[in-house]
């Protein structure tokens, strides 16, 4: 800093002197980014890459590998990466995906809640086991059947990364089909 002050005429603003470096103006004119600008751009990109914070999203879930790879990948085209460093553009692109993910979570949670309630009602209509042991095991089976929809939902939420929306939908649809409370069929049928 002292060198910068000694080498040129008096600085226009001494307060800003601590934040600048001799030659910054020349570098800016040549289009060279300072390390601080690089850091700021990277931070903005990382901030906008994060999923929206809401109560239904798991904050401790890992980021999808492809998103990290994309952010860390060098620009092979040699072109400017300003669009990726623009928080506004990234937020605009991420908004529909976040909204879709939230809508999927709410819809699937409602479906799986309905399945759980269905199984609670369904096990009232079933009975099994002629002796104590088999009756006990049958009741444990009923408990497992009631627990199956919430377990399936939580497993999909925990084990499928949030970025892989299609995979989540596929597993949730498979679970909903497999875990239909069929013992309610006589009640539903006329």
């Amino acid at each position: 800093m002292a060198a910068a002050r000694d080498s040129g005429p008096a600085e226009p603003d001494d307060d800003l002197d601590a934040l600048t470096w001799a030659g910054d103006e020349d570098r800016a004119r040549r289009g060279v980014r300072t390390a601080r600008e690089e850091r700021a751009g990277r931070f903005a990109a990382e901030e906008s890459d994060r999923p929206d914070d809401d109560d239904l999203d798991d904050d401790d879930e890992p980021e999808p590998a492809d998103a990290d790879a994309d952010a860390a990948a060098p620009d092979r085209t040699g072109g400017p990466r300003d669009a990726q460093h623009d928080p506004g553009a990234l937020a605009a692109a991420a908004a529909p995906a976040g909204a879709a993910s939230r809508a999927l979570t709410i819809a699937s949670a409602l479906v799986y809640l309905a399945l759980t309630v269905g199984w609670i009602l369904a096990v009232q209509l079933t009975s099994g086991g002629t002796d104590v042991l088999s009756a006990l095991l049958w009741q444990f089976g009923e408990f497992l059947a009631i627990a199956a929809p919430p377990l399936w939902f939580v497993a999909v939420r925990v084990l499928v990364p949030p970025g892989r929306l299609g995979v989540r939908v596929a597993w949730l649809l498979l679970g909903a089909g497999l875990l239909l409370p069929w013992p309610l069929l006589p009640v539903v049928l006329p």
């Binding site: 369904a122 089976g141 627990a147």
Partner: protein, 104 residues
């Protein structure tokens, strides 16, 4: 053998008992139900597809849980095995209910 591998193996063996019990019930149904229907004079209504699916599903779900749990933490493997066991139990009860509806 690492502690994680031992934990995964113990979990797989413990859950195998549960899956095995459901499979045993399904095999019992596959053997006994056709006999019962024949004795009742309605052998043509034997729900073969349900009986075969009931036998096939527990091992399929168990194998699926083990396959999906590969290269995962022990906790994840336990979650997958528990989900598979719960799903096997739900489908077994569903099979009994559907068979009863088909008899009406």
């Amino acid at each position: 053998m690492t502690r994680a591998r031992v934990g995964a193996l113990v979990a797989a063996l413990l859950f195998a008992v549960g899956y095995g019990w459901i499979l045993f019930g399904a095999i019992s149904n596959l053997v006994a139900l056709p006999e019962l229907y024949r004795a009742l004079g309605i052998p043509e209504t034997t729900p073969w597809a349900l009986l075969v699916a009931g036998v096939a599903l527990p091992p399929v779900l168990y194998a699926g849980a083990l396959l999906l749990g590969r290269r995962r933490a022990t906790v994840d493997r336990v979650i997958l095995l528990a989900v598979g066991l719960a799903a096997a139990s739900a489908t077994a009860i569903s099979g009994v209910a559907i068979a009863a509806v088909l008899l009406r």
